[in-house]
Amino acid sequence: MEEAASAAFFVFLSRQRHVNNMKQIADFKLIAKEDYGRSVLLRLQSERSLPDIVPGQFVQVRVDGSPSTYLRRPISIHDVDFQQNEISLLVQQVGEGTRHLASAKVGDVLNMVLPLGNGFTLPEKCEKVLLVGGGIGIAPLYYFAKVLVEKGIQPTLLLGGRTENDLIRLADYQKFGETHVTTEDGSLGEKGFVTMHSIWQKQCFDKIYVCGPKPMMKAVAKIAAEKDVWCEVSLENLMACGLGACLCCVEDTVDGHVCVCKEGPVFNIRRLKW
């Protein structure tokens, strides 16, 4: 028993990279790009070794060459490959800034500040976990699901979109665990919103993690509160600095106005005044 524990600890140690929790400003080269219509997947590689990154954290990308875009754009981290110093971002084209980012070509360099904010709280090994993603909100759940599986936890996923086209990389998500789908037009999975999915009647969970549009997160938070289930949501308020300095991205919480960029973007729903 003791030997097994120490062996496990040794494996843990050998897998641990040198602790590097400093934030960086670094140039990343776009090495691959996949087009998903309204969204693109950008695979970016740095010449520097990556800092530690936990699921739910985000980057601030500088948008070069777009006169109408002055500030960086906060984008959640979709996937990380520490061996290759690689980060993937799933960028949905919402306005001029994200349209410009999505038009980047392989070989282009993007400057990023990372990693920012606090990630999701990792569950205990024995807990039953549900990850709920809506629209582009599925992006950070990829890296989260991957890390959970690495830790021996198999999550259940519930992903929703307007149409099947919103469910980007669905086959890849399905590898991580039982995956349920809703679409508003019924083109894939159950028709309707994630909150209407039959899974809520069939299964119980110890922890629920949500990322998506605010109305969707509020609706899931309401279900979680009614069932008295622990629940974290990832917010995306408009922000400028991403570092907790400008105080623009505040959310109303039981502790008053707090910065989503620094104290979030992940919050336990009990802390929010929803």
Binding site: R62, Y70, L71, L238, L243, D252, H257
Partner: protein
């Protein structure tokens, strides 16, 4: 080797002319992964009021062409919290730490200044009489000569260290206001605070900011700031600290040439968290290239 030192008077000596502007650099702690604070002339920490303030509701920010609007509304936990909790964490930073002090009424300014006067490691306050985002006080004191005269002279009575007064650009004649601050006992003036502005979402037919109007900052305000610094520097004898859209060393040099003795970097910290140290290096390089032995030789060096 260029001498980068700037003496702003009454004990406020800067290692170099570059400071970071209030509200854009937190308490310095937020930036230590990117910036060696000992390379800066100073940092001016977040606007603080006597009593805690929750600030305005969200949304507080709107991006504009080459700039941004904000209506944060001086969210802060009050002077006492600053003294008890924040000051012990930042007092040993190897740079000048200035406190930006704001208020809703005269008494708030005076009491706040009195409390901060005894903090050994705070060599100066920047008196904020120019915040456009609070209903009472704030900018109200900064837009008339009588108002600024009153608040500066009352604070002067209780505050014994360097008193910098941050001016609003939302006035008809900023030189008159600066002169009133000087006469009332200010050791220096810093300008400009943000320009009042507004943004509308045409699709929703709604304002983009929760309180409709906000303060404009960023590269877009630089020409206005530069002009005002030039006007004020001609009008007063005390040092002028220039800010407004400074994004690189060239911008900083322009402000010095217009008459600023030092500069502050604000919104640019959001785009490049390491910009402040780059500006210091760039100013040094400029002085070397133009054979200035001291950076202070740039002050008012505009050739007309």
């Amino acid at each position: 080797m260029v001498n980068m030192t700037i003496d702003l008077g009454r004990g406020l000596v800067l290692r170099n002319p570059v400071m970071t502007a209030s509200g854009t650099f937190g308490y310095g702690e937020e930036y230590t992964d990117f910036v060696d604070l000992s390379q800066l002339g100073g940092i001016i920490v977040k606007g603080t009021t006597l009593h805690p303030r929750e600030g305005n509701p969200y949304p507080r920010m709107a991006e504009t062409a080459s700039g941004m609007l904000n209506c944060v509304g001086l969210q802060n936990k009050g002077v006492q919290y600053f003294i008890d909790t924040i000051y012990p964490r930042i007092k040993d930073f190897d740079t000048n730490v200035l406190l930006n002090l704001s208020g809703s009424c005269l008494d708030d300014y005076v009491k706040g200044a009195e409390m901060v006067d005894s903090l050994d490691k705070i060599p100066a306050i920047e008196l904020n009489v120019s915040c456009p985002n609070v209903k009472q006080g704030g900018m109200a004191f900064g837009v008339t000569c009588a108002g600024i005269s009153q608040v500066v002279s009352e604070v002067r009575k209780v505050y014994h260290k360097h008193l910098m007064v941050k001016l609003s650009p939302n006035v008809t004649n900023i030189a008159e206001i600066a002169l009133a601050a000087e006469t009332a006992g200010a050791d220096s003036v810093s300008l400009i605070n943000t320009l009042m502005g507004m943004a509308i979402d045409a699709e929703k037919r709604k304002p983009k900011l929760s309180v409709i109007t906000g303060g404009l900052s960023g590269a877009c305000v630089k020409p206005v700031a530069l002009r005002m610094v030039w006007q004020v520097a001609k009008a007063v004898k005390i040092p002028v600290v220039g800010l407004g859209g400074i994004s690189n060393a060239t911008d900083a040099v322009e402000f010095m040439l217009a008459g600023a003795s030092a500069i502050e970097i604000g919104t640019a910290n959001f785009i490049d968290p390491a910009v402040s140290v780059k500006v210091v290096e760039g100013m040094k390089e400029y002085c070397e290239r133009h054979s200035f032995e001291k950076v202070s030789d740039l002050i008012g060096g505009l050739e007309i």
